[in-house]
């Protein structure tokens, strides 16, 4: 018999985890879902975000979330730079598929190895007042370490959603995702819009990295655990919509949390990937898909 409070706690923890997963995935929803750029190096940028937060936090005791937000413009510029290389080397030549994939795969690997060379394989963590205490409602625990990233993540999603829907450049990004050719016929330049959008997608990695190192200690190679998770959520959510992505993230979060509560944490990584494989096989349009 499964005890009720254990199950409820597992579901709550899963929801919080799912909220955080949404922050990790939103960048890929933009780059892969909207721009058709298969950025499998996204976890490497998230790791970079975590380590930037770690360096600044351990030297100057600044709040990690603040660091993530302040560093986002730098990540934005880096993202624009990466897109520029990608555009000139692959997209313009029409060779984006296999060579472009290999390019991002190389970036992922180089990022991981470079971090290992600099920081070693030790687990690093940050200090903040909200790491440790929990809120309690009856028998349900809300650890602040999970709750704060959850809220920040939802806030970031909301800001992005408003930005995409309301601003000129945001609508241009949606237009690129819907029909690149039509945009070109309107005399707009898709690659300029894509550059900005890709910059934004990398900027979210700065915040997501800061959230990650709040939730758990980080070492360079855990980034690759997120590849399957990110793409699973992105595909589950139907690739382009934020609400769909959030629902997918919650689903994966809850299933993972229940798995690790009742079967042990060593099984949790397989869940997301199993989900990904099954979704790809039977429902490639996503749970809310057309």
């Amino acid at each position: 018999m499964i005890s009720l409070d254990l199950a409820v706690n597992a579901i709550v923890a899963g929801l919080l985890l799912g909220g955080f997963y949404a922050a990790v995935t939103v960048g890929v929803t933009i780059s892969f879902g909207m721009l058709d750029i298969v950025n499998i190096a996204h976890p490497a940028f998230i790791m970079l975000g975590s380590f930037v937060a770690y360096i600044v936090n351990s030297n100057f005791a600044v709040d990690p979330i603040l660091i993530g937000v302040v560093m986002a413009p730098v990540f934005f510029l880096a993202g624009m730079g990466v897109y520029q290389i990608y555009y000139y080397a692959f997209e313009r030549r029409g060779e984006e598929s296999i060579q472009g994939l290999a390019f991002f795969f190389g970036l992922l690997f180089v990022g991981e190895v470079a971090l290992i060379l600099v920081f070693g394989v030790d687990y690093r963590f940050v200090e903040a007042p909200y790491i440790g205490p929990s809120l309690h409602f009856g028998f349900v625990d809300f650890p602040l370490r999970m709750l704060i990233p959850f809220l920040i993540s939802l806030l970031m999603l909301a800001v992005l959603q408003v930005f995409l829907g309301r601003t000129f450049i945001g609508r241009a990004i949606l237009a690129v995702s819907q029909d690149r050719l039509a945009l070109q016929l309107m005399a707009a330049n898709p690659s300029r819009v894509k550059r900005i959008a890709f910059g934004i997608s990398i900027a979210t990695a700065s915040v997501a990295g800061a959230l990650l190192i709040i939730i758990q200690p980080v070492e360079p190679s855990i980034g690759r655990d997120y590849i399957g998770r990110i793409f699973a959520i992105c595909v589950l959510g139907g690739m382009t919509s934020f609400p769909g992505m959030l629902a997918g993230a919650m689903l994966i979060g809850i299933v993972e949390s229940i798995t690790s509560t009742f079967y042990g944490p060593s099984w949790a990584p397989a869940v997301a990937f199993g989900f990904l494989l099954l979704t790809l096989a039977w429902r490639p349009a996503g749970i809310l898909g057309r």
């Binding site: 298969v38 190895v113 793409f231 397989a270 096989a281 490639p284």
Partner: protein, 339 residues
């Protein structure tokens, strides 16, 4: 589509580049030549080299040739990127561990069984995802690697996360040390996989693969059975990777999930054909010998983390400046001279 020089169709120029296509002489030369090279290589290394280290290093380079060639059968010929080399390789290795615990089969039989296991996984993988866009296949292979690793980590019989020790038999079945024996097996497997790759390249099958790579929709419309061909490619490619993994437990004598599923196998098997050139069987060999040797030298002289950085950086640089690899560069030189 992806192999540069889009003004020309890829098939004719490839034939002109390396060996005249379809000429019987070329084919006969290849078979005789490759067997001769293999035998001479085996005999020379066995008689002349006394330092065991060279067999260790040589085994690694040969293993990379097999992995790169196997990857290229799917990635280079049909254009589907597989990032799960580590999974196929490790499934071969862990099959051997299980067989080692249960039976006392000779290593070549273990290689065959490991190959069958990985081939089955390649088939299942392809069956689930190959009807989708190529990108999804690539992501699914990344996912497969983690699922397989999780299963092994939770499987205590093969050591779980702690890993497992495998004790080598005291004597090799043929003369020489056990490492020399494994080295000879890997040399044979290298020959087999290169021969398979070259045979495919020159057969109807290879034409079908190339059609899929250049335009899958057009190929389908022209009556190429694309799904069946892709399944053949994933199965063959996975099986060869599994076969190259099967002797690993005896080679390292200690096997754990973190090292056998290492992402570096995937990076290497992607980087080697990309750097060497993906359109012909020579490309992966060139890439594997080059990168494998560089890594051996870097591991001995500098550090093993740095050599992985070298591979990653070379991969990025090559896909940007030379998307057709070294073989592609040489071929375009060649054509320029002929004109």
């Amino acid at each position: 589509m992806m192999h540069g020089n889009r003004s020309e169709t890829p098939l004719p120029h490839r034939g002109k580049g390396v060996i005249p296509r379809g000429s019987e002489m070329g084919t006969a030369k290849f078979w005789i030549g490759s067997v001769l090279v293999g035998v001479v290589f085996l005999v020379l290394t066995r008689w002349l080299i006394t330092n065991e280290y060279y067999f260790f290093a040589g085994y690694q380079v040969l293993q990379f040739i097999v992995l790169a060639t196997a990857w290229n059968i799917l990635g280079g010929y049909t254009g589907y990127t597989n990032f799960g080399t580590g999974a196929f390789f490790a499934v071969g290795a862990y099959s051997a561990v299980v067989l080692h615990k249960l039976t006392s089969l000779p290593v070549p039989v273990m290689m065959l069984i490991g190959g069958v296991m990985s081939g089955i996984i390649g088939f299942g993988m392809g069956y689930l995802t190959l009807r989708l866009k190529g990108v999804f296949f690539a992501i699914a292979t990344l996912a497969l690697a983690i699922v397989a690793q999780t299963l092994i980590v939770n499987w205590d019989y093969v050591g779980g996360a702690r890993g497992v020790y495998v004790i080598r038999p005291q004597h090799a079945p043929i003369s020489g040390s056990y490492i020399q024996y494994l080295y000879s097996l890997m040399l044979a497997l290298t020959w087999v996989s290169v021969a398979i790759a070259r045979t495919i390249e020159r057969s109807q099958l290879g034409l079908g693969f190339n059609a899929i790579r250049d335009d899958e929709l057009a190929a389908e419309a022209a009556g190429v059975p694309t799904l069946r061909l892709k399944l053949i490619a994933t199965t063959l490619s996975g099986a060869l990777m599994g076969m190259s993994g099967a002797p690993l437990p005896y080679y390292v004598t200690y096997l754990d999930p973190a090292s056998s599923f290492n992402l570096s196998y995937a990076v290497n098997s992607v980087a080697m054909p990309m750097i060497g050139g993906m359109t012909s069987w020579i490309g992966p060999i060139v890439g594997a010998v080059l990168l494998g040797t560089i890594q051996q030298l870097a591991t001995v002289t500098i550090s093993s983390a740095l050599n992985l950085l070298i591979v990653g950086v070379l991969l990025i640089v090559f896909v940007i400046i030379a998307p057709n690899g070294i073989v592609g560069l040489v071929q375009s030189r060649w054509r320029a001279r002929i004109r």
